[in-house]
Amino acid sequence: MDAMDELLYRHAAEARDLWLGALPPDELLPERPVSQRFARRMARLLRQGRRSPASNRALRYARRAAAVFLALLLGAGAFLGAAEARAAVLAWARETYGSKVLYRFTDETPETLPRYPAWLPEGFVLADDFQSDISRSLYYVNDETGKEFVFDYSYMYDGTQIELYNPNGIPDPEKLTVNGMEADFYPADNFSMTNYLIWFDEVRNTVFSIDSDLEKSVILHIAESVDLEDSTKN
């Protein structure tokens, strides 16, 4: 380390305070309205985050933890029937904390199979497809109307959680079913701008969601068509 390095280490914090001190304090910053486009793009940031190196490292960690837990489960299976063992550990839970809701998952062996909506509203095409080890996001758009929806599915590995955040507070969801599976529907508000449907396949340990400015009935129709077959991709 030379003299300049030492000088910089000694004075960098003071320089930072001096530089940031020229900015207005937070309480005096103007509250800035944002466009719907910006709000929607912010709502999609999760798809970027999923592909981050951090999530991949976390996945490896969780899989190691899952391997240990699975060994314990197999031990327990000697005393329990398969169905009982499954029921004993199958779990997802919804927790509310003011402006956010957490869906936590504590299962071990999701079936990592590709899923697609077999029915699309007229004019919709697949425009983008993001995939990671733990999830996939399919983005569909109707270029004529500008309507869009994002169909997501994620594997319910132990330690996975889905967090919904809304600074206006999260209302209680409307309880629905999708092909007999439990589902929660959150209507759009002035922050989210889009309707959000989330449902849980407890047999294959997969959680699905649709985020869209389409009407609830249309979203439900899409959800009910989700299948293993790639019937609409092309």
């Binding site: 910089l8 320089a15 800035r32 910006f38």
Partner: protein, 177 residues
């Protein structure tokens, strides 16, 4: 609804992004608006900045500490300057941007002082950003390159040039060290 999927160890980690979002979005818009002078462009810059922030979220230990505030402003400033250059095709000197464009905080607002900290704060934006990330925040050259959207070799060169520029400023001001 802001939705995110996480696979994490603690609840603290999950709330980091929303703390950053809530705490700094107005500040980020203030910085971006000041550089870009266009509401739509500023939204693009802030959105791109959040994408970068997600990429370095694990490196943020305390979302509310001054170092994090500095990191957020640096990322936003750099993103807005780069976008401004791209959109306006502004020709800028190779060793950094002119002061008037470069500072989201506005170097003109920094009190005139003749010391080392003031000289660092008054450096062209790219140089100041690189030095603060390295010597204040403690990031590696590779991490700085990621945050400033440049190659690692470029980040290393930028830090070298920033130190040379700082030495020149201190010599001109006859500040001894």
């Amino acid at each position: 609804m802001l939705v995110y999927l996480t696979l994490i160890d603690s609840e603290d980690e999950t709330s980091k992004f929303e703390i950053v979002y809530e705490r700094y979005k107005d500040l980020m818009f203030y910085v971006a608006d000041r550089i870009l002078n266009d509401a739509e462009d500023a939204e693009d810059a802030v959105h791109q900045s959040f994408l970068k922030i997600i990429g370095v979220l694990e490196k943020i230990e305390d979302p509310l500490c001054p170092k994090t505030r500095s990191l957020i402003v640096i990322i936003t400033e750099r993103t807005a300057i780069d976008l401004n250059r791209k959109l306006r095709r502004t020709l800028l000197p190779m060793d950094g941007e002119p002061y008037a464009v470069s500072s989201g905080a506005g170097t003109e607002d920094i009190p005139v002082r003749m010391d080392v900290a003031a000289a660092i704060a008054a450096l062209p934006a790219r140089y100041r950003e690189a030095l603060l990330l390295k010597y204040d925040c403690g990031y590696s050259t590779a991490e700085i390159a990621q945050m400033l959207s440049m190659t690692e070799a470029n980040a290393r060169k930028t830090i070298q040039r920033a130190k040379a520029k700082l030495k020149q400023l201190l010599d001109e001001q006859e500040v001894t060290f």
